[in-house]
Amino acid sequence: MDLRFTPEENAFRQEVRAFFRENLDPKVHAKLVEGRHASRQDLVDWTRTLNAHGWGVPHWPAEYGGTGWDPVRQYIFLEELQAFPAPAPLAFGVNMVGPVIYKFGSDEQKARFLPRIANMDDWWCQGFSEPGSGSDLASLKTKAVRDGDDYVVNGQKTWTTLAQYADWIFCLVRTDPAAKKQEGISFLLIDMKTPGITVRPIELIDGGHEVNEVFFDDVRVPAENLVGRENKGWDYAKFLLGNERTNIARVGVSKERLRRIRELASLEHIGTEPMIRNSRFREKLAAVEVELKALEMTQLRVVAAERTREKGKPDPASSVLKIKGSEIQQATTELLMDVVGPYALPYVPDREDDRWDELANEPPIGPDWAATVAPTYFNWRKVSIYGGSNEIQRNIIAKAILGL
């Protein structure tokens, strides 16, 4: 048992950090530090920078462009990316549909889609959730009926993250209404430009436009866009969701937040004293740090176990990571609320893409970092809901770990 990273692993960490420092646009970095979103173009540019360096899809098999790093290096890379902070490559492509395609897709699909995912030539979104199918995903109703060489898709998806930017959507659709609910589902790749698709924004409580409803009205999808076999989509979805959970703890994100909180709390004052010297506040901060340290160690245990675990089989310990990781992320947003105090109040609408710069001529209200604090706190309630709500994770622990 040796919990230290090897000198080679530490050198790798330095290499990753140096690459980020030299290659990430400082303006994009500043946006992320201030809690603002990277724009569509920021993410495309950054993904292409990584991809040109061979780091676009590190976790994929080498034959599809992966790096062949072991799980520890994968973890270090991701942690550095989050803690730097640099924009995370779009999960819907590189973590979700990409692995489904290289694992279950046809050779044509692999050749057509995988390089474009790695280079962000296509923006992907996820068509899983429906208005009536949240945690009970397999109850989905969007249906696809075979008609000649096409499937005809009708129905509605919801909570579709960044569908407004998307070129493609991967969907779970019902192809056999008579079968048991998990057995009549197929996995379809759909071009967002196909006639009959309508995207309608859902405004979230922070005022942001992050998710959408997507409507399908007699949308014709070529049958060649079916992944794997008809009615086997649930298996592919389970594989995808297992991958989704491996990075759900987001330790690096919370680390970066806590460092930021410490920094801001030394600028803000309670009376004549910097907030960070206030014993009540700093004990609250230290309590979250302890939880995060424990989570980091738990994450490393899962990463280390991955070396010997059967590939593609989700570890039920990832449910522990999801629960704790989301609670800690939420705790960091609460601590930021504590730090900003009364200047949490002013509402400054979020600007899409780079229209933030239009605000540059106006002086900010309160400290210049204050505007994103309350919206982030509000918005971050989502993290204990998405990706399988924390209650679903507890069900998984009860069943898969405890046998209840």
Binding site: R262, R282, E283, V290, K293, M297, R301, V320, L402
Partner: protein, 383 residues
């Protein structure tokens, strides 16, 4: 980075777990507690035979040269069995103080006798007003000729009543709360002027109030640097905290399994109560808290061997915070899920709860260590 045990460590783990499973069931434990010293000399001899008492000591002192990982393995198993023998006080604390700070003569005399089970040690450190501050020492050691005269009172000395030798902190110079001027002394429990009042503890062990009234000590009683023993004490207490973390994780694991077994079999309204989601989610939260505690125990174990106190301290403090919080949650919920039988003396779950509660109050509870951590700048400093 790996969490794997070596082959030797795996053998140790198997053997100590088998020992606890075969010979330390709950009914046997009750018998051991009822013996005159509050533990079983026979068990102690068996632990010596298995080499468990020799774990952290060098081979030339009759030991097997183990490190913090080996101690963790033993303590976790002992946590599962709620072992009441004086392992922490004799091997981890007393043995640790001599291992790190003793003269060659002291080590050569005492450590082989500890490893073979012939000698018991205890660490007399807490005083009535000191709470968790290791530097708060009123007991005095006045230089006298070549030796010292010891006066003062120590409290809640774990297994202090029957220990052959006591390791006592006492002030050689300075004021009550000065970090400088603290000495550590090796005192034979039968020396004139030492009086001990033993009593049972809440968690099934024994402790003692000990007073020192003009106790004369020779120059060979000094452990480490006279007047500068605090770093030694802090180091060994940090090792003991890591060991307690492991013991607590063993206890939490046992509580979790016992509780899950119980809710799988206890029927109400015609079904096993484990079928109810409110109980399932509580059990799932117990898993989360236990795993977090286990993770921090690994961290504490790794850091216990670090010489630099500034590097070691925050990690140990953080681990103790997590252990305190996890132990309280897992203990309270285990009792709640058991219902009425959980609060009976007859049933074992409550005894685990009592042990993890007392582990929290040993060498600083969660609040104490959270303050310590907050004051020293936390865990994640600017990169």
């Amino acid at each position: 980075m790996d969490f794997d045990l070596t082959d030797e460590q795996r053998l140790l783990k198997d053997s100590v777990e088998r020992f606890v499973a075969d010979r330390y069931d709950f009914e046997s434990r009750k018998r051991f507690m009822a013996e005159p010293e509050g533990f079983s000399r026979e068990m102690w001899a068996s632990m010596a035979e298995l080499g468990l008492l020799a774990v952290p000591f060098a081979e030339e002192h009759g030991g097997i040269g183990g490190g913090p990982v080996e101690t963790m393995i033993v303590m976790e198993a002992f946590g599962r069995g709620l072992v009441v023998e004086p392992y922490l006080s004799t091997v981890v604390l007393g043995g640790g103080l001599l291992r790190h700070g003793g003269s060659e003569a002291q080590r050569a005399e005492i450590l082989p006798a500890v490893a073979s089970g012939e000698m018991l040690l205890a660490f007399a450190q807490v005083e009535r007003g000191s709470r968790y501050d290791l530097h708060d020492v009123s007991t005095t050691a006045r230089p006298d000729g070549g030796g010292f005269v010891l006066d003062g009172e120590k409290g809640v000395v774990l297994h202090g009543e029957g220990a052959d030798r006591l390791l006592v902190t006492a002030r050689v110079s300075g004021g009550r709360r000065d970090r400088e001027g603290i000495g550590l002394f090796l005192v034979d429990g039968k020396t004139r002027g030492v009086s001990r009042r033993g009593y049972p503890t809440q968690d099934g062990m024994r402790a003692a109030e000990i007073s020192f009234d003009g106790v004369r000590l020779g120059p060979d009683s000094v452990v480490g640097e006279p007047g500068n023993a605090l770093p030694l004490v802090e180091r060994v207490v940090d090792e003991a905290i890591a060991a307690l973390c492991a013991e607590a994780v063993g206890a939490m694991g046992a509580m979790g399994e016992t509780t899950v077994d119980y809710i799988k079999t206890r029927k109400q309204f015609g079904v096993a109560i484990g079928a109810f989601q409110s109980l399932q989610h509580r059990a799932a939260d117990m898993v989360v808290m236990t795993e977090q505690a286990r993770s921090m125990t690994y961290l504490a174990t790794m850091m216990a061997g670090v010489d630099d106190a500034a590097e070691r301290g925050p990690a140990i403090a953080a681990a103790k915070v997590q252990i305190g919080r996890s132990g309280r949650f897992v203990g309270q919920q285990s009792i709640q899920l058991h219902g009425g039988v959980g609060v009976t003396m007859e049933y074992k779950i409550g005894h685990y709860f009592k042990r993890v509660t007392m582990i929290d109050t040993a060498f600083g509870d969660a609040d104490h260590h959270l303050s310590r951590l907050a004051e020293t700048g936390g865990l994640f400093k600017a990169a």
